[in-house]
């Protein structure tokens, strides 16, 4: 039963970070645009045959990151460091197998792509992410499923949190497996969260939801967006230049 609680704590940790910083360091750029630029940058880096392009992207990303709040930086860098460390350890044997360069190129590219993704995920909330996929004309069913999944996870996290609090209030005895009695707690939590997310979708239906999301005061394509969009030709030009000139 302690394992049950432990699992729920884990779920809370996994899903809880959404509500904590839901609008933290939110970027003012259209999410769809941000998603596209991030994708392009990762793609070009992967295609790049030399290191300069990748290093340039890393430099730009780091510079941008250094302007952010410390909390944001820590949140962003944690997954990056883990991924790079993991990659480095994995690729180390390759050096002795006659691929010395692979270690470096792959680690560097992993650093770059995880950094881009991590910044993206920290500066665009998941709801905006759903928006972005809608803007990019993904199938409705897909967007809907994405939305429902995130909703369920958020509800699950929030609900686990309050259940854990409720348990802590009444779990006043010494830890003992016999007196625990919370064996079904994880299952109950799942069922209950599922019921709650179903009810939420019912509430949406009651307000005439027909599967098509529209956003209130939909963001128009503004001047910062246009500037940001300039990154696309810039990235491509830089790519072409670095691939040829050096």
């Amino acid at each position: 039963m302690n394992m049950n609680l432990q699992l729920m704590r884990l779920i809370r940790r996994i899903t809880g970070n959404d509500s904590e910083y839901q609008t933290a360091d939110q970027s003012r750029i259209l999410p769809a645009l941000r998603l596209s630029v991030a994708f392009l940058a990762i793609l070009l880096c992967a295609l790049s045959q030399n290191a300069i392009y990748v290093i340039m992207i890393i430099a730009a990303e780091l510079l941008w990151l250094s302007m952010k709040s410390p909390i944001f930086i820590r949140k962003t860098l944690k997954p990056v460091l883990i991924a790079v460390l993991f990659c480095f350890v994995l690729m180390l044997p390759a050096v002795s197998m006659g691929h010395p360069r692979t270690l470096l190129t792959v680690s560097m590219k992993v650093f770059e792509s995880v950094l881009i993704l991590s910044q993206l995920e920290n500066s665009v909330s998941w709801q905006n992410m759903t928006d972005a996929f809608r803007t990019l004309h993904c199938p409705q069913l897909f967007v809907f499923t994405l939305d429902m999944t995130m909703r369920f996870l958020v509800i699950l996290g929030r609900y686990s949190n309050s259940i854990l609090e409720a348990v802590s209030l009444r779990r006043v005895g010494p830890d003992h497996w016999k007196t625990a009695g919370t064996g079904g707690i994880l299952g109950t939590t799942f069922l209950r969260s599922q019921k709650m997310s179903l009810e939420t979708s019912e509430a949406m239906a009651c307000r005439c939801f027909d599967g098509e999301y529209r956003s209130y005061r939909r963001r128009r394509f503004s001047r910062p967006d246009a500037l940001y969009a300039l990154l696309i030709p810039l990235l491509i030009a830089l790519f072409v230049y670095t691939q040829q000139a050096m």
Partner: protein, 329 residues
């Protein structure tokens, strides 16, 4: 089993993504037609199940991680088409929100875990269920099905890894992406999945199924209607045959092109110089990189150095008051 970006060549990723497009199209059509609208939110719950299973991942040698996927589980609850969509969504969330598995390799990850796994798992499940009689036939079927499914998916991932060094090398003969051949990747991948992760998937699948059967029988009701139609079987066969072919074709073409191109430009880029330039000692030695204009090297080093310094100081400033943990039970 999440393949991160840059372990596979962009070409491989493109082929895998292209292979997924018809699968996704068919799945969406099928789900729309066969699952009643009120049950659609269950897709989200399925995706969340899969997502949670995938959070408990353990790194394995060969460049990826091992974990339960729950694809067969969703397939036996809601059918393979729904499972395809649900796992796709779970993978997308992992890639975008948790940085697990790459964006470019998203197609490849979906191919393994959202296509091969649930469909193979479902087929195996159905096969077993027809042979076995009794109350627990569905549990036994799903158990074996999930084991077969996850191993099929792991094999696919291993092959994708393993063909990288054969197809993609730079002028100096170094692997551009994952450096391990099939002789390394297949044992590395399968060893874990035939044992630990295969069992984890089986346990996860049967535990949740048994739980759902007991606690929420209504969740299980929409499964009977789903049948793997003949066109899909054909499509599957075609994909199984065509995808590796496509990979080979793409790979060789690119490989030749890149060597040619590098040979043609000749003077500028010298991989070996670059390598000795910064693979030892610090990342950017002597404040410049061989092979690039000196001024650019200076600027880049300065930018990176300054940024890193600022970041370090900012991190130090919050190091003391570590993040508030919620009260634990």
């Amino acid at each position: 089993m999440h393949i991160p970006d840059n372990y596979l060549s962009p070409q491989t990723c493109a082929v895998m993504a292209a292979a997924m497009v018809p699968v996704w199209t068919v799945s969406i059509k099928k789900v729309k037609a066969e699952i009643p609208k009120v049950k659609l939110p269950m897709l989200g719950v399925g995706a969340a199940f899969s997502f949670l299973g995938m959070m408990f991942n353990i790194p394995i040698p060969g460049g990826t991680t091992g974990h339960a996927v729950g694809g067969t589980l969703i397939a036996s609850l809601m059918g393979p088409y729904a499972a395809c969509i649900a796992v796709t969504v779970a993978l997308l969330i992992q890639a975008l929100i948790f940085g697990d598995g790459g964006i470019l390799s998203f197609g490849a990850n979906c191919f393994n875990m959202a296509f091969v796994l649930p469909f193979v798992g479902y087929a195996a499940t159905q096969l077993i269920m027809k042979r076995v009689k009794g109350k627990n036939a569905d549990l036994i079927g799903s158990a074996i099905g999930s084991y077969v499914g996850i191993n099929a998916a792991a094999l696919c991932a291993a092959i994708e890894f393993g063909i990288q060094p054969m197809l993609f090398r730079d002028a100096a003969g170094n692997a551009l992406y994952c450096p391990y051949g099939l002789n390394v990747s297949i044992p590395a991948m399968m060893l874990g999945h035939l044992t630990l992760f295969g069992i984890a998937e089986v346990v996860y699948t049967t535990a949740v199924l048994a739980f759902v059967r007991k606690a929420a029988p209504e969740m299980k009701s929409s499964t009977e209607a789903v049948r793997t139609a003949l066109p899909l079987k054909l499509l599957m066969a075609a994909l199984v045959i065509l995808t590796p072919l496509g990979l080979l074709a793409e790979g060789t073409a690119w490989g030749e092109w890149s060597t040619d191109e590098i040979a043609a430009t000749g003077a500028g880029f010298t991989p070996s110089g670059m390598l000795s330039g910064f693979s030892y000692s610090s990342l950017i030695p002597d404040y410049s990189l061989t092979g690039m204009p000196e001024w650019l090297g200076y600027i880049l080093s300065a930018v990176i150095g300054a940024a890193i310094l600022i970041i370090i100081f900012k991190l130090l400033s919050v190091a003391g008051n570590s993040k508030k943990e919620n009260l634990t039970v």
